[in-house]
């Protein structure tokens, strides 16, 4: 007799029959009927019509029947809210039952019924259960608070359940503590600003005690909570680490990984000279290795995390290469991850082993995996210089196999090896050329064409080879077309006599017969270059290319540090910070590793985060360039031009140069189309009039900007006086001062460049680092003539807010790189937030009221604006000039209350209440915003506007 009988139906109609059975007098029959209902429910059938009949069965002393009815209620109460009320009485009664199991069951089920009317009745029983003498009931009630919060957050706060929940953290029973932590963490996630889990050394101690005694799942919650704590010094960090280490031996892999997270994070605070630091490093390796013997799904998550750990602290797993060797029956997702980690761990010591393995993988069945393996060999060559030769010979062996996709991948990676070690392995070109005909994938074809073009002087029949590609020019993909164009131009510059016809053919193909703008533009550039100044063309197209390095596939250090804080979470699986993919990105708190204390250089207090520039009010030059340099160059340095290409004056050159560099950097393993163009995309360095490349628009635009530059403070929002951002002594004689302004909807940066050096400066270009509001130059930096010594030039650089976004500390920090013919300089500055207030920031009255109510109270912040003698009307009009709009004005007990709204460029609304007392020169400003972290800066903006 099995439950499958519940699925059989009769002809009369299932629902009808069930109804009859549910109303039967016989208990046994009733129970069977409810079971049938549940069975239908599990397979997704709609049995909600039976609601009243099932609820009628609830009043019973048979626990199984009761549980079954509860299961039904949870599923269908929402669709029948009025009927669900019928059940309330039973719940309330059950919450008083002498049996703790029943009390817990009632409070648990009630929380799952997501009907507003029921929640009102739930409060009293829940309050009692939170203080129940039985820990089982208490721990169930703790979770119920989280459920209730999900349905009605306001109710939970009003009823004071959050405080009761916080008290439960000190409960005598570890399971209750764990559940309270879990519930609080879940609530905190939807309420980032509320300081629910206020951790201090005492509460940490309690958590650590509970950690040893609670269930495995509870341990995960507690460990994840611990990871958010910031120990006050390295001693506290060490003592927490000591108490967390035993968790590494837990059988539950999630516990292990959460423990690893805590250790990795707190380790940051320990001095590397400490004995304990070394011990800890040693202890971390075995559990990570053990994770790899678990089920494949667990392995996958573990591997994604190990990938981060290996990048952060390669020393932990450097001897464990072998555990990452691929087994042929591993699922493909595990194989690919293992491969990636193998390359990260590859070093001179183990390269022989790694290569032997990779070669083995290249003969596997799975095509995707084989391709990755071949690429991996190339990455090894670039990473471990001593192994390059061996890698190349391995690749040649693979090419000999003549397996089509292996050959193609091998050629793609050999191109990268040429870029890394020029003039070393060119002897293999002959072998590569033999395989020309078998290449059918664009990437491989493009790579091969690049090689032929680059080494045209060593390949006797280079012209024939390229010509053969030219025949089907229009059928090729863009990547190949671009590459072919560049390669033929290179060939022409190297052997001009015999290839004139060829180059003309390709140029006309590219410019006249192609619809692709990229291809056409590049064709025109080459054409003009070659026709105006072949010598310059040679310098540009055949310029020496910077070497590529292996670092490009690493995660950017700041991102890596952030991801380390998210070990074990989804963020660690995607290798993206939660803000990048968590829905609505509400509630995302930027996490950062704690700074190292105890070591010599930093005696800072732990609350100053290590990232970000110095938080001084004055713009300051960043002292250490190393970090920032990396950041700036890793930027997505897409062309800063948003409109049509600007005129090519000498200045332009610099900007594009910067662009060129970045392309090269991002090129390892990338497309040869980009690689080849690295040095050659630069347009003519002609100093003639800017009439080039079909963009007469350019100069016009430039003029326009000049015009606006002149009208600096005509209207629009307040503009602060210029301050020196980059002193001359820090920038080899270039002094930059500037300010920000906003007129009629556009933001600009007003700069004064002064040449205090003895030589002429030219080729100016500017780049911004990613910043909180996506500020980016909307046009390149236009300096029309070289800047003579002791001369200065005023420039207005239009900005837009469509650049990439990264939260900065402080929020309005902007890091800037300026380049000229001498060097690249970096500085950072703080921009006033009011340049971001948009013109349509006036909110409807009704809307204002609703929004004000809607934003939770903890998002409200109050500030004092001192010594301001304006009256309410003057304030209002002054603020209006900077796009802060007064929506209503009220007079309450002699005080003027101004209600104002403003909107930021990224769509964040800020609501303000400004209280002005006639006799008192200080105003009270209350700000409400869904993103409370901006409030402080809004206040600063208010103050600057009002006081000037």
């Amino acid at each position: 007799m099995t439950d499958s009988k519940y699925f059989t139906t009769t002809k009369k109609g299932e629902i009808f029959e069930l109804k009859a059975e549910l109303n039967s007098d016989k208990k046994e029959k009733k129970k069977e009927a409810v079971k049938k209902v549940i069975a239908s429910m599990t397979v997704g059938k709609d049995v909600s019509a039976l609601f009243p009949d099932v609820v009628n069965c609830m009043q019973t002393d048979n626990l199984e029947l009761k549980k079954l009815v509860y299961l039904y209620l949870m599923n269908y109460a929402k669709s029948q809210p009025d009927m669900a009320i019928m059940a309330v009485n039973t719940f309330v009664k059950d919450c008083e039952d002498p049996n703790p199991l029943i009390r817990a069951l009632a409070v648990r089920t009630m929380g799952c019924i997501r009907v507003d009317k029921i929640t009102e009745y739930l409060c009293e029983p829940l309050r009692k259960c939170l203080k129940d003498e039985d820990p089982y009931v208490r721990k169930t009630a703790a979770v119920c608070v989280a459920k209730l919060h999900d349905i009605n957050a306001q109710l939970v706060e009003d009823q004071g359940f959050l405080d009761t929940l916080k008290d439960l953290i000190s409960d005598s029973n570890p399971m209750v503590v764990a559940n309270a932590v879990a519930a609080l963490s879940e609530i905190a996630e939807s309420h980032p600003s509320s300081n629910l889990l206020d951790l201090n050394p005492q509460s940490i101690n309690k958590l650590l005690t509970a950690l040893n005694e609670c269930t495995e799942w509870g341990q995960i919650f507690i460990l994840d909570c611990l990871a958010n704590y910031m120990p006050k010094d390295d001693r506290e960090a060490q003592s927490i680490c000591e108490r967390v280490t035993p968790r590494l031996s837990h059988a539950n892999s999630a516990v292990v990984l959460s423990a690893v997270k805590v250790l990795m994070k707190f380790m940051e605070m320990l001095s590397k000279d400490l004995d304990y630091y070394g011990t800890l490093l040693k202890k971390l390796a075995p559990p990570l290795v053990t994770l790899l013997s678990a089920e494949p799904e667990l392995q996958y998550v573990a591997l994604r995390n190990i990938n981060l750990i290996v990048q952060k602290r390669p020393e932990i797993l450097k001897h464990e290469m072998k555990v990452f060797f691929v087994k042929y029956n591993d699922p493909i997702y595990v194989k690919l991850e293992k491969l990636d980690i193998m390359i990260r761990l590859a070093s001179q010591a183990n390269i022989a082993q790694v290569l032997a393995e990779l070669k083995e993988y290249a003969t596997e069945v799975d095509v995707d995996f084989v391709r990755k393996a071949v690429r991996a060999i190339g990455r090894c060559a670039i990473k471990v210089e001593q192994s390059a030769e061996r890698c190349v010979s391995t690749l040649l062996d693979l090419i000999q196999t003549k397996v089509n996709y292996v050959v193609q991948e091998a050629i793609v990676v050999i191109k990268d090896i040429f870029r890394k070690y020029p003039n070393k392995y060119e002897s293999v070109i002959a072998t590569l050329c033999e395989n020309l005909d078998s290449l059918d994938e664009p990437e491989a074809r493009a790579a091969m064409i690049w090689i032929v073009g680059e080494y045209a002087e060593r390949i006797d029949n280079a012209d024939e080879l390229l010509e053969s590609f030219l025949e089907g020019f229009h059928d090729e993909s863009t990547q190949v077309q671009l590459q072919l164009l560049t390669a033929i131009v290179k060939l022409f510059l190297k052997k001009p006599t015999e290839t004139q016809e060829l180059v003309q053919q390709v140029l006309s193909l590219a410019t006249q017969d192609s619809d692709n703008p990229d291809l056409r533009d590049r064709g025109y550039i080459y054409w003009r270059l070659l026709s105006t100044d072949p010598v310059a063309a040679k310098e540009v197209v055949l310029a020496e290319k910077p070497l590529i390095s292996e670092e490009t596939d690493l995660i950017e250090p700041t991102l890596l540090d952030e991801l380390i804080c998210y070990i074990g979470t989804l963020a660690s699986v995607y290798h993206k910070p939660p803000s990048a993919f968590v829905e609505g990105s509400r509630g995302v708190v930027h996490k950062s590793l704690p700074p190292r204390t105890g070591s010599s250089e930093s005696a800072e207090s732990p609350d100053t985060a290590p990232s970000g520039g110095p938080a001084a009010d004055q713009p300051s030059v960043i002292p250490t360039q190393g970090d920032l340099l990396g950041d700036l160059l890793n930027l997505d340095l897409g062309p800063p031009v948003s409109g049509p290409p600007m005129a090519t004056s000498a200045v332009q050159m610099g900007a594009v140069d910067l662009l060129g560099d970045s392309l090269l950097r991002s090129d390892v393993g990338g497309s040869p189309a980009m690689g080849g163009s690295g040095g050659s995309f630069t347009p003519a360095p002609s100093t003639t009039a800017p009439t080039n490349v079909g963009a007469p628009l350019g100069s016009g635009l430039g003029d326009l900007f000049d015009l606006t530059g002149g009208v600096g403070t005509l209207s629009g929002s307040y503009v602060a006086p210029k301050t020196v951002w980059l002193p001359a002594m820090k920038a080899k004689g270039l002094e930059i001062s500037g300010t920000f302004s906003r007129q009629v909807g556009s933001i600009s940066m007003d700069l004064v460049l002064t040449n205090k050096a003895l030589q002429v400066m030219s080729d100016f270009a500017i780049q911004f680092n990613r910043n909180s509001f996506g500020l980016a130059p909307a046009a390149p930096l236009q300096v029309h003539a070289p800047l003579a010594p002791n001369q200065s030039v005023e420039i207005t650089l239009p900005l837009n807010t469509v650049g990439s976004v990264m939260k900065m500390e402080p929020l309005n920090n902007l890091q800037v790189a300026v380049k000229n013919n001498i060097d690249v300089f970096y500085f950072s500055t703080l921009y006033p937030l009011h340049i971001l207030f948009v013109e349509d920031g006036k909110m409807e009255r009704q809307m204002f009221l609703a929004t004000w109510k809607d934003i939770p109270n903890e998002n409200e912040t109050q500030f004092q604006i001192k010594d301001c003698s304006l009256n309410a009307d003057a304030v209002s009009s002054k603020l209006q000039g900077s796009n802060i709009f007064t929506i209503a004005k009220r007079n309450v007990e002699g005080q003027d209350m101004l209600y104002q709204s403003l909107k930021l460029t990224n769509g964040i609304w800020v609501l303000a209440e400004l209280r002005i007392q006639p006799s008192n020169p200080s105003f009270t400003l209350s700000l409400k915003c869904r993103a409370p972290e901006v409030s402080q800066y809004i206040y600063q903006a208010y103050e600057t506007i009002l006081k000037n």
Partner: protein, 406 residues
């Protein structure tokens, strides 16, 4: 936390759904089906799939996909580990875990799932406790229940749930008091063409079956505890004692449980107990190839173009599946005097060139009364109870993922 669970069978039908918070429409599984379609085999479906509003985390066991739906940032290992626990619990309850058995016991399954999670937080996952809350179905109980009208839902709070030893119930009584420990080791290894070991490691576990009255307190010591430097314990083991004295001291759960699992890396490895001599060659000219294997292999994957194989074993039976290209050879017991071998010819698809990839031999074997790492239990003592238990220890070595490349 965990929002919902869907069980999906190999043909892509959702045959069970359970929601712990609000109901998530089953259309969310469409994203899973998409991923399933893209993956060549069921094993290759990625375990984490993002969708616009949810994340789908899945495990594939017993030809069933267990797909959990989550909405917020939850540790994925937590979810995956929990899903595996669900499978283990089903297996524990019903003996096997299959679509048929789950459908047959759908109400029990539903009740159990409800006990395991509350609002997506794990509630009771220890099988001891679950079994007290929801009794597993047995034929006898069903009969008794129908006669007496009693239920298979326990109406008392499980005793162990809140005690310091949540894994053990109180009031356990046995007439025969016994404690058995099985030391089982699996070797994972990759052997290359020439027969040298590329990598080898041992995954060991000690599974226990303890049926002792009352609250016994056991200590287990080893002859060579140094071997165990990478261990994970059942929560019952006192970690401090292990750290200081290298002794396992614990109050055991009642019944079957895994006391300890450990990992011994290649450095400490003793010789590999099995060797394979192979000679597999494909020839370019003819559509025939030679095949010869000596000693205990069991499974070989052949390249796609292989049509059939004509082989004669010296002992055991062999099967070649022309669809999956899988050759299995069940060797039986190995006699050291006369080594078993499998010899014959391989016929290839006419017209195709010889295959590029080499088949890999997958080995399965068992060696009784040997723990390959050399681990030995020294003694087992019991405190806290007066009676004398019957003790037993068994050793076994098995092949885990043992692969020989050719």
């Amino acid at each position: 936390m965990i929002h919902s669970l869907f069980l999906i069978n190999a043909s892509g039908d959702i045959f069970l759904e359970k929601h712990w918070k609000s109901v998530v429409s089953r259309s969310v599984c469409d994203y899973f089906f998409e991923a399933q379609e893209r993956a060549s085999e069921a094993e290759n479906v990625p375990p984490v799939i993002p969708t616009p509003h949810h994340y789908l985390l899945s495990v594939y066991r017993h030809k069933i996909f267990f797909v959990a739906v989550i909405q917020s940032e939850v540790p994925p290992l937590f979810v995956i580990e929990f899903l595996h626990r669900v499978v283990d619990t089903f297996q524990d309850y019903f003996g096997v875990c299959s679509e048929v058995i789950i459908k047959d016991n759908v109400v029990v399954v539903y009740e159990v799932l409800e006990e395991m999670l509350d609002n997506g937080f794990p509630l009771a996952t220890e099988s001891n406790i679950l079994k007290e809350l929801i009794k597993p179905p047995t034929i006898l109980r069903t009969v008794v229940n129908t006669i007496t009208g009693s239920t298979n839902v326990g109406d008392q709070l499980p005793t162990g749930q809140l005690s310091v030893v949540p894994w053990r119930r109180t009031g356990v009584k046995y007439t025969n008091n016994e404690a058995y420990f099985d030391v089982i080791e699996e070797i994972d290894a990759i052997i290359d063409k020439s027969g040298s070991t590329i990598t080898a490691e041992i995954q060991g576990v000690i599974d226990a079956c303890v049926k002792l009255t009352g609250m016994p307190d056991l200590t287990l010591s080893f002859m060579n505890p140094r071997l165990l430097d990478d261990v994970s314990f059942h929560p019952c083991v006192r970690f401090k004692r292990w750290e200081s004295e290298r002794i396992l001291s614990f109050i055991p759960p009642d019944g079957n449980f895994r006391l300890l699992s450990y990992h011994v890396s290649a450095q400490n490895l003793v010789a590999i107990p099995v060797y394979v001599k192979h000679n597999i060659s494909f020839r370019d000219s003819s559509s025939l190839g030679r095949f010869e294997i000596t000693v205990g292999p069991k499974q070989t994957m052949m390249p796609k173009s292989v049509l059939n194989m004509t082989l004669t074993p010296s002992q055991g039976t062999h099967v070649f599946d022309p669809v999956t290209k899988l050759l299995s050879w069940d060797v039986g017991k190995i006699n050291p005097q006369k080594l078993p071998s499998l010899k014959g010819s391989v016929s290839l698809q006419a017209g195709t060139s010889k295959p590029d990839e080499n088949p890999t031999i997958n080995l399965q074997f068992k060696i009784q009364q040997l723990a390959i790492s050399g681990l030995k239990v020294n003694r087992l003592d019991m405190y806290g109870e007066k009676y004398k238990p019957f003790k037993g220890i068994k050793y076994m070595t098995k092949a885990g993922k043992f692969q020989v490349r050719t």
